[in-house]
């Protein structure tokens, strides 16, 4: 109930401060551009195999846009409240930390969902011309959603560590990029190490989704990353109790 109260306030704040519009518009514009150029390329060079290849390519591109935009969406979540001092109001209201954390998380996830839903326009447009295979498109979106949610949880945690929004955004981007590129070093790491790094890689776990396959361990990876970051946030809020400040 209170999660819902917090989430609604956060959503309102997203839309009155124009952050949500800006992030969504950027996402639509950039992924629209990728979609268009990919389509042109496929039509010109590949011919009829638009059905799978185009989606793979477009989802490849969209996840980059997603990873670079999510930190901007999440940076304000706690940092702004700390800067304004309103965190003191939340912490002295009859709210539990978990209400605050999940409320804020939920609000960002809803913006993410809205963002993704708006891009469904592209496959619909395409479906008018070509027949579109729904399966890989749906799994691709599921992948984007799971990955975006993990990014949000990561951003939420880092936002809870600072009162500076820019610092929160940069740190989030840093962590996400590190997770992304963690297995891109075949040259120096041994095969065994690489196998472990693959397991940790943000990008590696995305591949099956765009191939139209839902693997349990991919889902588990993103979900557990999300839960891990949410727990870190809870721990970070809890730390005020022994550090003596918000």
């Amino acid at each position: 109930m209170l999660i819902h109260t917090i989430a609604r306030r956060e959503l309102k704040a997203y839309f009155t401060s124009l952050i949500a519009y800006t992030v969504i518009a950027t996402f639509l514009a950039v992924s629209g551009y990728f979609f268009y150029t990919n389509m042109v390329m496929f039509v010109m060079f590949v011919g009829s195999d638009v059905r799978l290849g185009l989606w793979q390519q477009t989802f490849y591109d969209m996840r980059f846009v997603l990873v670079s935009l999510m930190p901007l969406l999440t940076m304000r979540l706690f940092a702004e409240e700390k800067k304004l001092g309103t965190i003191e109001l939340l912490f002295t209201s009859p709210l539990q930390d978990v209400d605050i954390i999940l409320g804020k998380y939920l609000a960002s996830v809803l913006v993410l969902v809205l963002m993704l839903v708006l891009t469904v326009l592209y496959p619909i447009l395409l479906a008018i011309v070509f027949s579109v295979d729904i399966g890989p498109v749906a799994t691709g979106y599921l992948g984007l959603f799971l990955m975006g949610s993990a990014c949000i949880a990561c951003g939420l945690f880092l936002s809870s560590l600072t009162e500076n929004q820019i610092v929160a955004a940069m740190a989030t981007l840093g962590v996400l990029l590190l997770l992304w590129f963690i297995d891109w070093n075949e040259g120096i790491a041994g095969a065994a190490t690489i196998r472990v790094l693959h397991q940790l890689s943000f990008s590696e776990h995305f591949l099956n989704f765009i191939r139209g396959v839902i693997e349990l361990d991919d889902v588990v990876y993103y979900v557990s990353l999300t839960v891990l970051f949410l727990c870190c946030t809870a721990w970070s809020l809890e730390s005020r109790k022994w550090r003596g400040r918000a």
Binding site: T86, P94, G244
Partner: protein
């Protein structure tokens, strides 16, 4: 049962002192003023009572709930105005209050009415739709106070509620506090001395993180004003003037206040408590032809109270 019972509340920020060993009780219907200079620990104490952070040691009970073990129950019982008056600047006043009404668990059917009532009480009706960002400091303060009142809390904790308000608003807020104090318990902090004597039923004086006195304003004044001071401005031969006045009954001592050329003609006279000596001094000065220019009792200042209480403390403990 006491509404607030604090037992050895202590807070250290790392190794820095917040407050040390605070014990006190507050009964229902009291308005208690925390008085203390900057950095004495007023805000720290309030933040512990509101469960913003737990004490390093010691504890307190508010309405029977322990602040360490039952923070949620405590928060339900209190309304809090933090010192910096934090607000969501991008929200209109009404939605802001609606949000907190919801957070404080006001049932949805009563919420609208409660918000409207509170806005009226704090004089905010005409600003209901205004963004908080666009309100003046005084009106932001009112929104903060309205937020504290929303849940109809048993205990109100207000950190410097009248700071930044204009004189008329100060009076309004003080009246509001007094009105609330009749049915609830109020704790407010301030460094304005008259505020305490005007609104509070009891005063707690905190200095360097320690509670050095807790008493009614009247008793406190009496204790401190044991040697009421009078300021005299007159022009006459210094030694003779001092000798003559010092010889008057009920006068303890006369001193020339020696601060710069402008103060040359000022004298400070310490008198016995309850000694009515003003008229006597006036008569003597006038009769001697010393050009009486000013004669008035010196108001005690916050500084004097502290100096007095601290020296009291050092010379021997007094029962609080």
């Amino acid at each position: 049962m006491y509404t607030i019972e604090a037992e050895h509340l202590t807070k250290f920020y790392g190794s820095a002192r917040g407050v040390v060993d605070l014990s006190f009780t507050v009964e229902r219907g009291e308005i208690v003023g925390f008085l203390g200079p900057n950095g004495s620990g007023k805000t720290t104490t309030m933040r512990m009572l509101t469960c913003f952070f737990p004490p390093t040691s010691g504890t307190a009970r508010i309405c029977g709930h322990d602040i360490v073990r039952e923070p949620l129950a405590v928060r339900r019982a209190i309304g809090y105005l933090p010192e910096s008056v934090p607000l969501y600047l991008d929200m209109p006043v009404r939605s802001y209050l609606h949000f907190f009404a919801e957070v404080k668990g006001v049932p949805s059917r009563q919420r609208r009415q409660r918000v409207e009532e509170t806005m009226q009480r704090c004089g905010l009706e005409q600003y209901a739709h205004r963004l908080i960002r666009k309100l003046s400091k005084g009106y932001r303060q009112r929104v903060g106070i309205a937020q504290a009142l929303l849940g109809d809390p048993e205990v109100l904790i207000l950190d410097e509620p009248t700071i930044g308000l204009d004189p008329r608003q100060i009076i309004e807020i003080r009246n509001l506090i007094k009105e609330l104090g009749s049915s609830r318990t109020v704790i407010l902090s301030t460094h304005i001395l008259p505020e305490v004597s005007m609104t509070c039923t009891r005063v707690m004086i905190i200095h360097e993180g320690r509670l050095i006195a807790i008493d009614t304003p009247d008793n406190l004044m009496r204790r401190i004003q044991q040697t009421p001071r009078i300021l005299l401005r007159a022009h006459g031969p210094e030694h003779e003037l001092i000798r003559t006045l010092a010889a008057l009954p009920n006068v303890r001592s006369v001193q020339r206040t020696s601060t710069g050329a402008a103060a040359l003609d000022y004298y400070q006279i310490d008198t016995e408590p309850d000694g009515q000596v003003m008229s006597e001094i006036a008569r003597v000065v006038v009769e001697a032809g010393w050009q009486l220019q000013e004669l008035r009792p010196l108001d005690i200042t916050l500084e004097q109270i502290f100096i007095q209480l601290i020296t009291d403390e050092q010379t021997g403990p007094r029962p609080c």
